[in-house]
């Protein structure tokens, strides 16, 4: 169990937080002791900006691997036939690139209980993970989590918006 104790500067920490909760991995800005008159500026990157660059095959719009979202029907968590190839392609990539890790974020539309939707989003993320592992990804390469209804891609209150929000996103290290 990781523990985090933040006695002060809470707002600052939280506002700037986008990385891991492990205090050991939180580092301050580097201090340059040679003085400021040589014009050098130390650049500090927050979060995962400095993570490894994704290979082109994951970002080339013509490659199926650039697609990361699986859409679901209302109150459903089964992967529809049209997304089977997409999930299979990512399973193959993970199988061939063991150094990559993936975070699957499950999402739901806004209707109903926030906590129930969190569990529903988890079910969607779990369904994608199960399929990935079945097709060759390693269990430890993939973490499935849920954002429930909290991070809608489309904030609208209509069926088109909701359909966009019933979704699982497959993110690689460096993208979350």
């Amino acid at each position: 169990m990781k523990r985090l104790i933040i006695p002060t500067l809470l707002a600052l920490l939280v506002a700037g937080c986008s990385s891991t909760p492990d205090t050991a991995e939180q580092t301050g800005a580097p201090v340059d002791s040679r003085g400021a008159n040589d014009g050098k500026i130390a650049t500090v990157t927050a979060g995962n900006m400095d993570s490894r660059k994704l290979p082109p095959e994951l970002t080339d719009p013509k490659n199926i691997l650039s697609k990361r979202s699986v859409y679901f029907d209302y109150d459903k968590f089964d992967i529809k036939a049209e997304y089977k190839d997409l999930v299979a392609a990512h399973a193959k990539f993970l199988n061939n690139n063991r150094q990559f890790k993936m975070l699957i974020q499950g999402n739901t539309d806004e209707r109903g209980s926030r906590e129930y939707n969190l569990a529903l989003g988890q079910k969607r993320a779990d369904a994608i993970k199960k399929q990935l592992v079945l097709l060759g990804a390693r269990e430890e390469q993939v973490e499935s989590v849920s954002l429930g209804e909290e991070k809608p891609k489309n904030p609208g209150q209509n069926e088109a918006a909701w359909a966009e929000n019933r979704r699982g996103d497959m993110l690689y290290s460096g993208e979350f």
């Binding site: 523990r3 104790i5 909760p21 906590e115």
Partner: protein, 433 residues
């Protein structure tokens, strides 16, 4: 302690429907809740609250808190006291107050307590029976004047309704401003003195008060996934209670404040576990492979109510901590979620989907009778007042999140909103100790 008095004529009729919030005074702050009564008790008690005696600024502030609390409870009607200058030492002119239509009268004053602070004193009278109902004195600093007013209103409320008042309690809620600013606020029950306990760029959901009112457990997404924290309000110290692989959510305190029931997906599916408030001692409670979430401890500390889709649709179930049978609790409708049990153990509040709206419902646990209390389309996250008589919910009006307090009989409704923000995820705190 005062013994509740139900001696006022006609009061027993409404003694069972109770109250909560009060009114906004004058503090200018951009993120304070404003309260609006949208439904009141059928028979409001006519009460005269005479202007408190003493230094004009303090006494005016005190008087307005007491009146505001009582009036906004929906249970009292204020009788005009213009031109009257009396205090707790004045013999009440019962006949005059009867002529003004008052059933009860309170008079008091505020003055130096001798130790540099101030003392607020008052007495309450039954005008109809021409008899004193008792009184109280509260020593307070100037900064805590409002708190003294809430305490006085609590005493008056209890004397006249037979139920403890909750004016002195606090509430927590989340305000979303713009696309990416979330603040966990703590405010007095009347929406005043709002302070941010946490600010984040990522969502915060499911805040819930420890039974002693010193800590909040909640779910924060600041690490791109749901993680459960316990946050000490006075120090700002936070402990990560559950950050296992997968999602960690839906914290609920045990009545003794030592444990939390939580939902974890670490073993697959969403399962309910109990965990010590310091993150140790994880024990799995549910084994069904589907969704099991939104645990809530009954006041006995042994029974856990929760939501599960094991029967094909989300319904409320209950089980025992020592591994007893799982019993289904809700049967009407295809979507019943978010169970919360009142502190007296008699009522379950939950959200039920009816005619495509998500509405606040209550179940009398003895008779299993269900009553739908609102006609909303998006009620969420019910939270009982510690006197078991009001339920705070999040709902949506005109596309914006607001809070609403609804009495368990559905008669009294108050709306709390913040002009520029989306308010959601309310949690009503315990009595102050």
């Amino acid at each position: 302690m005062f013994r509740p008095s139900l001696s006022l004529r006609g009061l027993s009729l409404i003694a069972c429907s109770v109250l909560a919030f009060s009114m906004l005074s004058t503090t200018p702050a951009n993120a304070e809740l404003t309260i609006e009564i949208t439904g009141a008790g059928a028979n409001r008690i006519p009460v005269a609250i005479a202007d408190f005696g003493g230094e004009p600024g303090s006494s005016r502030a005190l008087t307005s808190v007491v009146r505001g609390d009582l009036e906004h409870s929906g249970l009292f009607r204020m009788i005009d006291t213009t031109g009257v200058a009396i205090t707790e030492t004045t013999s009440p002119a019962y006949a005059d107050w009867k002529n003004r239509g008052a059933d009860a009268l309170a008079a008091g004053s505020i003055g130096p307590s001798g130790d540099g602070r101030q003392e607020a004193r008052f007495r309450l009278y039954d005008v109809t029976r021409q008899a004193p109902l008792g009184g109280a004195a509260f020593v307070t600093s100037s900064a805590m004047l409002r708190a003294a007013g809430h305490r006085i209103a609590d005493v008056i409320y209890e004397k006249l309704t037979g139920e403890p008042g909750v004016f002195s309690t606090r509430i927590a809620y989340v305000v979303k401003s713009g696309p990416a600013l979330y603040e966990l606020h703590i405010a007095d029950s009347d929406g005043q003195n709002a302070q941010a306990a946490l600010k984040s760029r990522e969502p915060i959901i499911s805040p819930t008060w420890s039974p002693d009112g010193t800590r909040l457990a909640y779910v924060s997404f600041e690490n791109k996934k749901p993680v459960i924290y316990v946050h000490s309000l006075a120090s700002g110290q936070r402990i990560v209670v559950a950050n296992f692989k997968g999602s960690n959510s839906a914290p609920a305190w045990s009545p003794d404040g030592r444990k939390l029931a939580v939902t974890l997906s670490k073993d697959g599916g969403s399962q309910i576990f109990t965990i010590n408030a310091d993150g140790s001692g994880v024990q799995r409670l549910t084994t069904n492979s589907g969704i099991n979430t939104e645990p809530f401890f009954a006041p006995d500390g042994q029974t856990i109510y929760f939501t599960s889709d094991r029967g094909g649709s989300p319904q409320i179930y209950r089980t025992s901590l020592n591994g007893g049978d799982v019993q289904r609790v809700t049967f009407e409708g295809s979507y019943n979620v978010s169970p919360r049990i009142s502190a007296d153990g008699k009522t379950m509040a939950f959200i039920s989907r009816r005619e495509n709206g998500f509405r606040l419902a209550v179940m009398d646990l003895a008779s299993r009778q269900v009553q739908i209390l609102t006609d909303s389309f998006k009620d969420e996250s019910p939270s009982f007042a510690p006197n078991s008589r009001m339920i705070l919910i999040a709902t949506e009006i005109g596309g914006r999140g607001v809070l609403s307090a609804v009495s368990v009989d559905g008669r009294i409704k108050q709306r709390l909103s913040i002009p520029a923000g989306d308010v959601r995820e309310p949690a009503w705190g315990p009595y102050l100790r």
